[in-house]
């Protein structure tokens, strides 16, 4: 089994924390895991991406980076950046898409139109029918999406059935000391949202 998860968003959204928690679960499960964070401009509002690759074959060698069309799962935290990342998702892959837009100052001032969530999903629909549209998220978004991911991952691929609410709650408790209560509450709301998305699919 080999799974590649591509995550994208903007600096400040907590994407690295989200990636650390997801890859941490896979490591704990005993999988061979590679995590690559491209975060150079994170704190200045720039694009952030995380690439997780995992395999249950300890002898399998693989590179850290995900090439175009090779991501089994794509998690998009910001509409514009998620559109920019479309090429990474493989045909028929699973996409967890957050309805959140951060419009750059220049576009606000020039009153340029910014892509909408509907436009985003229309693009992704051409590539896959496995779309989880997260439209009712609560802050902090990374915890909400972690809840969604932990819930839907086992349905996306049976190899990912080791993701569960309980394990992830434990990991959050261990790893995130600051704002623990709010994080856990949002995570659980995300789990609930994940369940409702599964029923819709």
């Amino acid at each position: 089994m080999m799974q590649s998860i591509f995550m994208t968003g903007l600096g400040g959204q907590g994407i690295i924390t989200l990636a650390n928690l997801i890859s941490g679960q896979a490591s704990e499960k005993g999988l061979k895991v590679s995590l690559f964070n491209a975060k150079g401009m994170a704190q200045r509002g720039g694009r952030v991406t995380s690439e997780i690759r995992m395999s249950d074959d300890p002898g399998l060698e693989f590179g850290a980076r995900i090439s175009a069309g090779k991501a089994d799962i794509l998690i998009g935290m910001e509409i514009g950046e998620t559109i920019n990342s479309l090429s990474f998702l493989k045909d028929g892959g699973a996409a967890i898409l957050l309805d959140y837009a951060f419009v750059p100052t220049t576009m606000v001032l020039k009153k340029e139109p910014y892509p909408s969530f509907r436009q985003l999903t229309e693009l992704y629909v051409r590539k896959t029918d496995r779309i989880f549209a997260v439209t009712e998220a609560k802050h902090p978004y990374n915890m909400f999406l972690l809840g969604v991911f932990s819930t839907v991952a086992p349905e996306i691929a049976p190899e990912l059935s080791f993701f569960s609410r309980e394990r992830m709650e434990q990991a959050i408790t261990e790893k995130l000391k600051r704002g623990l209560e709010e994080n856990l509450e949002t995570f659980n709301r995300g789990c609930a949202h994940g369940h409702s998305l599964l029923q819709r699919v």
Binding site: L35, F36, A38, Q43, G63, S85, F102, P104, L109
Partner: protein, 666 residues
């Protein structure tokens, strides 16, 4: 012991296991975490009174390399770290030290960036190493980075040369499990430097040419040592189809992945992690069995050129598929797709031609048929984009320009420059403001559009003098951050003073080397300096250079800042303004905010002056009606706002007010 660490950390632990005594570097993505990790290690070791190497962030890469060299010449093991551009800064010393060689292990860790994800040239350090005449190791992944770092010190001592450990972003920043000792194993060598004019000076032609000869001899030792250690691996496929894949460094895991996934059993492999000097024996063995060779390496055709030259020397006349015939890109990272197409080209192209099965002696001749199927060749060359392509794929693609963080003092400095220019009637499109490396360069982005140039560390001050000498009449402003000033801004300022230039230099001093992750620099406040280190004040330096026209301003006080700039621009000679306030991020990590600002939606007219002038990420548009005719008003995100008050200075409608945290608004 196994730990999940990134490649840069693996270099740090490899160096600790090799028993280094000294490590020095200058921060630069994607290399910084190597020295960061060593610094963390040495700090916690110091707390427990455990032994640790001496570690420092030096003022620039040249100094870092010289410091490491001194330690190595005294017999210790030493590491210098930098990004590829840093090697240019250190070049003068690197090329000279190469002639002298080393006693103790001296390793130069340089991280390259195929795909330019950190936004600098795609400079290939391997070519630089060849120019200097230094061996290059190129690890495939973090686990190999650990092993090869350890080995690099052995190799350096064996051949008595500095060794370049070259990494790329995909290895430097990949987090994977690495088996290692995670402990410092000091060698406890006694420092001893023996006077040897013949080796350590360049006093005369004879000495220099003798050293050049010594260098070439040492390179031969490096080649045989790396061969003996089995760093490179040649694997011949069982059915011996004469097809070889050569892959270098970071591409090795991707090639292994492709080989294990596809049906490529007939392909033989040569995996290179010691890429210079070329292992001629191993290469010869390959030529003896090969008809067609595919060379996979990112950026320049470095391995390919060496192989082609060796093939020519041996009289081998098979086909090499690489970059020099235009089959593969020299720009950007290699995607799995490019690698896959290359493998297909190698395996299938053979059907089209007879190939050049070399004889057992390694020499063979082909007929005149084309080496590769031209259609397939075009297909491989077509994908010249970086693998992590963010190229516009749809008309909907957007770009998020990076900007100053909420509360960043540089925002105030650039607002003040723009306001000052306006005040004295200078057209911004006709007033050159040079920019420099680091966070300060964001002054070129919207909404400021202030900076015109970004070339290299310290270049803002030198370039501005060029514009002055060219006869540009409008006042010239050079902007530079504090760390960049220490790194390479002092010499050009000396030059400007000596030669009587008309120039305003604004040093944006936020007290940290922030862009690369908040490393300490000579100007960082005393209490954050390493134990025993002392702060060097920019103001004292500038005064000591003889600059009389010096002002120190606080960029959040716009009135004072604008006045200072206006004042300076109207005077002759070299003027320096130090714009001083701590980086908002380091401050926020330590201290609670005391105030924030808010926008009264009843008063906001949605003129957007605040956004237009500050571009602050804490400002956003909201659909709250209020008095605005637009049905929209501006608002401030109370989580992001640091209370700097710059937006307050933009509002003509009294809509922005201060709110004491835990108190009432004023």
């Amino acid at each position: 012991m196994k730990r999940s660490i990134i490649g840069n950390q693996a270099v740090a632990y490899g160096a600790l296991a090799a028993g280094i005594d000294v490590a020095a570097g200058y921060p630069g993505t994607p290399s910084s975490e190597a020295l960061n990790e060593l610094l963390h290690f040495s700090r916690s070791a110091a707390r427990g009174n455990d032994p640790s190497p001496y570690v420092e962030w030096s003022v620039n890469e040249k100094v870092a390399f010289e410091l490491a060299t001194g330690a190595a010449w005294a017999g210790k093991r030493a590491l210098a770290t930098m990004k590829m551009s840093g090697a240019n800064v250190a070049a003068d010393s690197i090329l000279s030290v190469a002639y002298s060689g080393t006693k103790g292990g001296l390793v130069l860790y340089i991280a390259d960036d195929p795909g330019a994800e950190a936004g600098m040239p795609e400079q290939d350090t391997r070519l630089f190493a060849q120019w200097a005449g230094l061996p290059v190791l190129e690890p495939a992944d973090p686990a190999r980075a650990y092993q090869l770092t350890r080995y690099a010190f052995e190799l350096s001592e064996r051949c008595e040369l500095p060794v370049i450990l070259r990494s790329v972003t995909s290895v430097a920043h990949a987090k994977q499990e690495v088996e290692g000792e995670y402990a410092y194993k000091p060698l406890k060598r006694k420092a001893a430097f023996q006077k040897n004019i013949l080796r350590y000076t360049k006093a005369g032609a004879v000495i220099c040419m003798d050293q050049h000869r010594d260098l070439l001899e040492r390179l031969k030792v490096a080649e045989s040592s790396a061969a003996e250690a089995g760093i490179n691996r040649l694997h011949e496929a069982d059915d011996g189809a004469g097809l070889f894949v050569v892959a270098a460094g970071a591409l090795i895991p991707y090639v292994r992945e492709a080989l294990s996934a596809g049906d490529h059993r007939r392909l033989s492999t040569l995996f290179l992690e010691s890429v210079y000097p070329l292992d001629t024996e191993l290469a010869g063995g390959m030529f003896g069995a090969a008809d067609r060779i595919l060379v996979l390496e990112e950026l320049e055709p470095f391995v390919e050129m060496q192989l082609r030259s060796e093939a020519s020397r041996l009289g081998w006349n098979g086909t090499i598929l690489g970059k020099l015939d235009g089959l593969f890109p020299r720009v950007g990272k290699y995607s799995q797709e490019i690698i896959g197409r290359g493998l297909t080209l190698l395996a299938e192209g053979r059907k089209g031609g007879a190939g050049a099965r070399a004889s057992a002696t390694g020499v063979g001749r082909t007929g005149g048929q084309p080496a590769v199927d031209p259609t397939a060749a075009q297909a491989a060359a077509a994908d010249t984009q970086p693998a992590a392509s963010t190229q516009p794929a749809t008309p909907l693609n957007v770009k998020h320009p990076i900007t100053f963080c909420a509360g960043c003092p540089h925002r105030g400095s650039f607002m003040a420059i723009n306001r000052a220019l306006k005040k004295i009637g200078l057209d911004r499109d006709n007033t050159v403001v040079t920019g420099d490396i680091g966070c300060t360069i964001l002054g070129m982005n919207p909404p400021f559009h202030t900076c015109w140039t970004e070339v290299s560390m310290g270049s803002s001050i030198g370039l501005a003098q060029g514009f002055y000498r060219a006869g540009i009449e409008n006042p010239l402003i050079a902007t530079i951050g504090d760390s960049t000033f220490f790194h390479a801004g002092i010499p050009p300022l000396v030059n400007a003073i000596q030669h009587g230039t008309n120039l305003l230099v604004i040093i944006l001093d936020n007290g940290w080397t922030s862009m690369t992750g908040f490393q300490v620099n000579p100007g960082t406040a005393e209490r954050f300096q390493a134990r025993g280190d002392r702060r060097v004040e920019i103001e004292g330096i500038v005064r000591g250079m003889g600059v009389e026209n010096l002002q120190v301003i606080g960029p959040f006080d716009q009135e004072q800042s604008v006045e200072a700039i206006v004042n300076a621009l109207q005077q002759e000679g070299v003027k320096v303004i130090i714009s001083q306030a701590e980086c908002a991020l380091t401050a926020a990590r330590r201290e609670e905010r005391t105030q924030i600002y808010r926008i009264d939606s009843e008063k906001c007219t949605f003129c957007r002056s605040c956004l237009r002038e500050t571009g602050c990420p804490a400002l956003y548009v909201t659909a709250n009606g209020g008095k605005s005719k637009h049905g929209q008003v501006m608002a401030i995100d109370p989580e992001l706002c640091t209370g700097c008050g710059l937006c307050f200075t933009c509002c003509k409608f009294d809509a922005i007010s201060r709110q004491k945290l835990g108190g009432s608004s004023t």
